[in-house]
């Protein structure tokens, strides 16, 4: 039996082509798999960024919506540049109510060189003389000053107490008022 080797090169060529095709397939399979994994990771990142962006947008909206309330928040503090007007506000209560108001002492922390946004204290001891109504109204007006104030150690004494009614007696009241100073940028000084 005679063998013909004329088709042998074609056979090798076919084998090489088949091997190359298989290798190419394996390579492509791996490359696509890796690209797919990367795409999944990228999609997850994009989704998380989208969620972050939505959350951030809602935070910004909330921030803008609460702007006026937050601005009021700072008005509850006595700005360091407004300490004098705070003291004047206390003194003027007497004029409004019709009682005699005097500040026997005022103390405030030195805000020089304090950083912006930090807090300090201001306090005053107030003496009031007047009718019962006048003294109580002065106390009430102090409580409703447009600042976050705290009042302690209130003493009311009848000076020349009338025998029957408290309304005709003269009363003397003394109390401490404390408020918090908010250090603002404009007043930060350097020595």
């Amino acid at each position: 039996m005679k063998h013909s080797y004329a088709n042998l090169p074609l056979f090798f060529l076919a084998a090489v082509v088949a091997t190359c095709g298989m290798l190419l397939y394996i390579y492509m399979y791996n490359a696509v798999g890796a690209a797919y994994s990367r795409a999944l990771v990228a999609r997850a990142i994009v989704n998380s960024q989208k969620l972050d962006s939505v959350a951030e947008r809602s935070t910004v909206q909330l921030f803008e919506k609460t702007a006026s309330a937050r601005n009021r928040l700072s008005s509850l503090f006595v700005k360091d540049v407004e300490t004098v007007s705070f003291i004047e506000d206390l003194e003027n209560i007497g004029t409004v109510v019709g009682s005699s108001v005097s500040l026997s002492s005022v103390s405030a922390d030195d805000t020089t060189n304090m950083a912006q946004g930090t807090f300090a204290k201001i306090g005053a001891h107030i003496d009031v003389t007047g009718s019962w109504q006048g003294v109580i109204r002065t106390l009430m007006m102090t409580e409703v000053l447009p600042y976050h104030v705290s009042i302690d150690t209130v003493t009311l004494t009848a000076v020349n107490s009338a025998p029957d009614t408290k309304t005709t007696a003269t009363w003397r009241a003394s109390y401490n008022v404390k408020a918090t100073i908010l250090v603002t940028a404009t007043s930060t000084k350097t020595k």
């Binding site: 951030e56 935070t59 910004v60 921030f63 937050r70 928040l73 700072s74 509850l76 503090f77 946004g117 807090f119 019962w132 109580i136 106390l139 009430m140 409580e143 976050h148 104030v149 705290s150 009042i151 302690d152 150690t153 209130v154 003493t155 009311l156 004494t157 009848a158 107490s161 025998p163 029957d164 408290k166 109390y175 918090t180 908010l182």
Partner: protein, 130 residues
């Protein structure tokens, strides 16, 4: 060229967003400090309400001194000094206060009741802050 413009615009947008975020974060930090400060202080106590309430209970008893203070952060102490026409009026005042302020501890030393007329007294009323 267009591509470059887009990149620059994206960078600007990103930097603006970062800037906005840092402004918001800084403002929120400041606001949170202010809220903490306000909460940490007792603030806005209304002694006039309590004093008026106690004074309204006096009836025929004459008050000469009313002292209002706080013990710690949660207990209000009001010391009332005055003159009662007689012993029964003073006891009636104590009972009236006990009824009006059921949570209050009212201290009226028995020695204050030694005299039957024109009783000079000092009564201590303590109750939790509302």
């Amino acid at each position: 060229m267009e591509m470059e413009e887009e990149v620059v615009a994206a960078e600007l947008r990103a930097s603006k967003e970062v800037q906005n975020r840092s402004v918001i974060e800084s403002r929120l930090r400041t606001d949170s400090l202010m809220i903490e400060r306000l909460l940490s202080e007792s603030g806005n106590s209304k002694p006039s309400q309590d004093i008026r309430f106690i004074a309204a209970e006096r009836g025929v008893v004459r008050f000469t001194t009313i002292s209002y203070g706080m013990v710690g952060t949660s207990t209000v102490v009001v010391v009332v000094q005055g003159i009662a026409p007689n012993r029964n009026d003073l006891i009636a005042l104590k009972n009236k206060m006990a009824m009006s302020l059921p949570m209050a501890k009212i201290e009226l030393p028995l020695s204050e009741l030694a005299k039957s007329k024109n009783v000079i007294f000092s009564m201590k009323v303590s109750y939790p802050k509302k």
